[in-house]
């Protein structure tokens, strides 16, 4: 795309686009093709899905933020709204910025709500689609229209259409391309050409990886050498198993869809015990069911990786909505006391690298590792920086092979008291490695033991394994100020939103540092304290009602007088403006 200098001056660097309608109406597929085409042009994208716990019907919408620079947050406002029904307009028009655009199906005689100043383009979306043979194509008409308003090259869009429908044959592709063109032609005639104030600066032309957090984690697991996944379907975790169902057979592995989450986690324990890197993934309800087995993995020192893609709780809660309310459950869940590691990736790239690390940590420390994401990070489709093959390093910890055979039924000391507490681990099949494993308190060979002396030693051995825990970037720091007015602390998907709010806070003269806690448990007290001490006030931002992360900070770091909670638990992610306003009020 060539532009003159004068034109360039009027170009914008980002905009937000949203499509809405009834679930099952093609909102998802429109979003997919639209964003695939944008990705082709090299734009950075950040997606947000609003959906309900049903398959057909019910309002749903997908929002994409499009930018020439990396972005990690949804925007406060909206530039273009594509509406398949009036409900979409009624529910979303208030987000439109002044002078925003609505592209709506003429079929339902769209009305712009009172108080909203927007340009409305009523396009005969359904009519054109039906004329071309099927109303199914209305998503193509709609996306063609909004693409044309942005003045973006149609051939790039058509390429994406071709990829989406190629397997259905050239006739289908042709029909859909035609639908796109008709939508584009109609709206261009109505608008008198592309909208001058909606022209994006050209992107770098470099196609980015474009994926959801669940994809990145599944890919990370595969790269980490995970070859067995046992899982039970649940929102918002299922994409992890779906990806691995597709990929694992190519690498000799498999996914077992189990009868429940208890089977999923225990099957995974069995595979890990036998020596194959194995995982499960679920959300809150599934994690609740897994707690006893997590204790078994802790007690038997069996490596185990579990992903918890948090959603709204408690109970069934808000299954399709954003929340970060399982922090306590992940730290404290399971009866008794076990060593356990909880890490929370805070970006799409970390979703990938943290899975590699999680499998390494699980084997290095022989304990359960929980990878904690949230719905927005798990399901928000976004651009991802290139993933580095060199960073995929597999470390299997204290795993021993070729153990000389024992004599007279002397068992291998699987739980030997060693410096650091991580005993040599041997896999079934090894002649010299025979030992027993039990969730009952046991001696060095794994035999049940109720001896008080042994009990204390074993507890200490297990619990002190994590004294030397090394996690890459236990906290992620962006702290330009030696003395900050404000330290904003977050976890998971909120980092981009915080950073955007910080720009405004800085403009107001509030010196703001930002720490993302990635190692949730054991809490990285020493690393964190340095930044807590440098701030006058600490705002802990989290999607839950009781300030679970803030409580960890108070408990471990002891800066309670400085800590203020910034919580949101209505099922939606924080918006940059909310973080800005509320942080300012708290300072």
């Amino acid at each position: 795309m060539r532009v003159t200098l004068k034109e360039w001056a009027s170009l914008i660097s980002q905009l937000s686009w949203k499509i809405g309608g009834q679930q099952g109406e093609g909102v998802e597929s429109t979003d997919r093709i639209f964003s695939t085409a944008l990705n082709r042009l090299g734009y950075y994208l950040y997606g947000y899905r609003h959906f309900s716990s049903r398959i057909k019907g019910g309002h749903t919408n997908n929002k994409i933020r499009i930018s020439t620079k990396p972005i990690r947050a949804i925007s406060d406002d909206l530039d273009i709204l594509v509406a398949f029904d009036q409900e979409t307009i009624d529910l979303n028009a208030h987000e439109l910025r002044q002078g925003g655009v609505i592209v709506a199906d003429a079929k339902f005689n769209p009305v712009v709500p009172e108080g909203v100043e927007a340009r409305l383009f009523a396009v005969p979306i359904t009519a054109i689609a039906e004329e071309l043979g099927t109303s199914l194509m209305k998503n193509m008409v709609a996306s063609g229209a909004s693409w044309a308003l942005l003045g973006l090259p149609l051939e790039v869009f058509n390429k994406a259409v071709e990829e989406e429908f190629g397997r259905k044959g050239p006739a289908v592709v042709e029909k859909n391309v035609e639908a796109v063109r008709r939508g584009a032609d109609f709206v261009l005639e109505q608008a008198g050409g592309p909208l001058g104030d909606f022209q994006l600066e050209p992107a770098d032309g470099e196609q980015k990886l474009f994926m959801i957090g669940n994809d990145a984690m599944a890919l990370g697991a595969l790269a980490a050498g995970c070859r067995i996944m046992a899982a039970y379907p649940i929102t918002p975790a299922s994409e992890i198993m779906e990806y691995l169902i597709k990929q694992l057979p190519k690498f000799g592995g498999t996914v077992v869809q189990t009868e429940d989450e208890i089977a999923a986690v225990t099957m995974s324990i069995g595979s890990n015990y036998a020596g194959v890197r194995s995982m499960t993934a679920s959300a809150g309800p599934g994690l609740s069911l897994m707690m006893e087995a997590i204790g078994l993995a802790g007690m038997t020192e069996t490596p185990l990786v579990i992903v918890n893609t948090q959603r709204g709780g408690p109970s069934t809660g808000l299954p399709t909505k954003q929340e970060q309310s399982d922090v306590n459950a992940m730290i404290y869940g399971t009866h008794g006391e076990i060593p356990k590691i909880v890490i929370a990736p805070s970006s799409i790239e970390e979703c990938f690298y943290d899975m590699v690390e999680a499998f390494n940590l699980a084997e290095r420390y022989q304990c359960p590792v929980i990878v904690l994401t949230d719905l927005q990070l798990s399901l928000g489709k976004q651009s991802c920086e290139p993933l580095d093959y060199e960073r995929i390093v597999i470390d299997r910890g204290n795993l021993v092979t070729n153990v000389p055979p024992s004599e007279d039924n002397v068992l291998f000391k699987r739980y030997e008291f060693v410096e650091g507490g991580v005993s040599p681990r041997v896999l079934p099949g090894e002649k010299g490695g025979l030992h027993h494993v039990t969730g009952v308190e046991h001696d060095e060979t794994g035999r049940p033991s109720e001896s008080a002396i042994n009990r204390k030693k074993m507890m200490d051995k297990r619990l002190h394994k994590l004294d030397n825990l090394q996690v890459t970037n236990a906290i992620r720091v962006d702290a330009p100020h030696e003395d900050a007015d404000l330290l904003i602390v977050g976890m998971g998907s909120t980092g981009g939103t915080i950073d955007q709010a910080r720009v405004q806070l800085e403009q107001d003269g509030i010196k703001t540092n930002h720490v993302t806690v990635r190692q949730i448990y054991p809490f990285p007290t020493a690393q964190f304290k340095a930044y807590a001490d440098r701030a006058k006030q600490i705002v802990v931002l989290e999607n839950n009602a009781t300030g679970q992360l803030a409580n960890q900070i108070k408990l471990n770091v002891g800066v309670g007088d400085k800590v203020r909670n910034l919580t949101k638990y209505d099922g939606t992610p924080f918006l940059p403006s909310e973080v800005y306003k509320q942080s300012k009020e708290l300072v």
């Binding site: 046992a230 690498f251 099957m267 595979s271």
Partner: protein, 288 residues
């Protein structure tokens, strides 16, 4: 080739004298030897209860897990290393109460392994409460007026769930029990062996003598055909499940591991974990 003595260890079981589980332990050790196994190639995964202790009494890789979950753990072990012979074991409470969901689905899944249930119709380790296998009217600590729930027929359920190997035996018949376990080990797919294993301390009704009087050995039943699923179901219903021997075997159906797309004969534990840079690039391309 290991002898049955090589499957013994020096741990003294904490079962009551006379407990039926001693015979099950001996039968597993003999069957393992008869099947030509080595101790390191056998993994015994057990649940919780008196019977759950069995994994610690056999010289093999033993995993004493949590209540009701021996089966999914055992399946995970087998998928990871298909060179191992995997035996899961536990009691009737473990397999037919808390773990019933896993039992039915393990049967459906048909992974090549053997599940031995020590069925004493009572909860022993918790000192005498009713079990799903208790008879109606059976008085226990938890059912002082007698159990009012129907007795579960696990082998009928197994057949309904698509079992490929269903057998039943009795602790007093070590020869039959050993043979059935050996057949179960050699069966391709999931083999379920329910063993009447009397609890001499808490069950004064279903005693050794009571079983001897009430069970029928299928070998004595003329014309019984263990490949006939309808006959198996009918016989179980006719006798209220009081039969021993091989009740049903389907030799045609392939085991789960042999049906998984891309699953290799070589155990996963022996395979290379590292993705090649070419494979990695190919995987990344799908996200562009």
């Amino acid at each position: 080739m290991a002898t049955f003595k090589e499957f013994r260890n020096n741990v003294k079981p904490n079962w009551c004298p006379g407990c039926g589980d001693f015979s099950v332990q001996a039968a597993i050790q003999r069957a393992a030897a008869n099947a030509g196994l080595e101790p390191e190639k056998l993994a015994v995964i057990s649940g919780i209860g008196c019977s759950g202790r069995i994994s610690g009494y056999i010289n093999a890789y033993g995993f004493h897990s949590i209540h009701g979950r021996a089966l999914p753990i055992a399946q995970g072990v087998k998928l990871a290393n298909r060179d191992l012979t995997v035996i899961a074991s536990g009691g009737d409470g473990d397999g037919f109460a808390i773990g019933m969901g896993h039992t039915v689905h393990a049967i459906r899944r048909n992974i090549n392994m053997t599940y031995i249930v020590m069925d004493n119709q009572i909860y022993g380790l918790t000192k005498g409460q009713t079990s799903p296998r208790s008879a109606v009217g059976f008085k226990t600590k938890s059912t002082p007026e007698g159990s009012i729930e129907s007795t579960l027929s696990p082998l009928e359920i197994a057949l309904a769930a698509g079992a490929t190997f269903v057998a039943q035996s009795f602790s007093s018949d070590l020869k039959q029990l050993t043979s059935l376990i050996e057949q179960g080990i050699n069966h391709e797919g999931f083999s379920l062996i329910n063993v009447f294993s009397p609890c001499v301390t808490f069950n004064k009704i279903n005693t050794y003598d009571w079983f001897k009087e009430n069970i029928v050995n299928l070998e004595t039943v003329e014309g019984y055909d263990a490949s006939n699923r309808v006959m198996a179901m009918t016989k179980l219903m006719e006798t209220n499940g009081m039969i021993t021997g091989l009740i049903y075997q389907n030799k045609e159906k392939r085991s789960y591991e042999n049906l998984i797309t891309g699953f290799r004969p070589e155990p996963l534990t022996n395979q290379n974990l590292q993705l090649s840079v070419e494979d990695f690039d190919k995987l990344l391309k799908e996200f562009k």
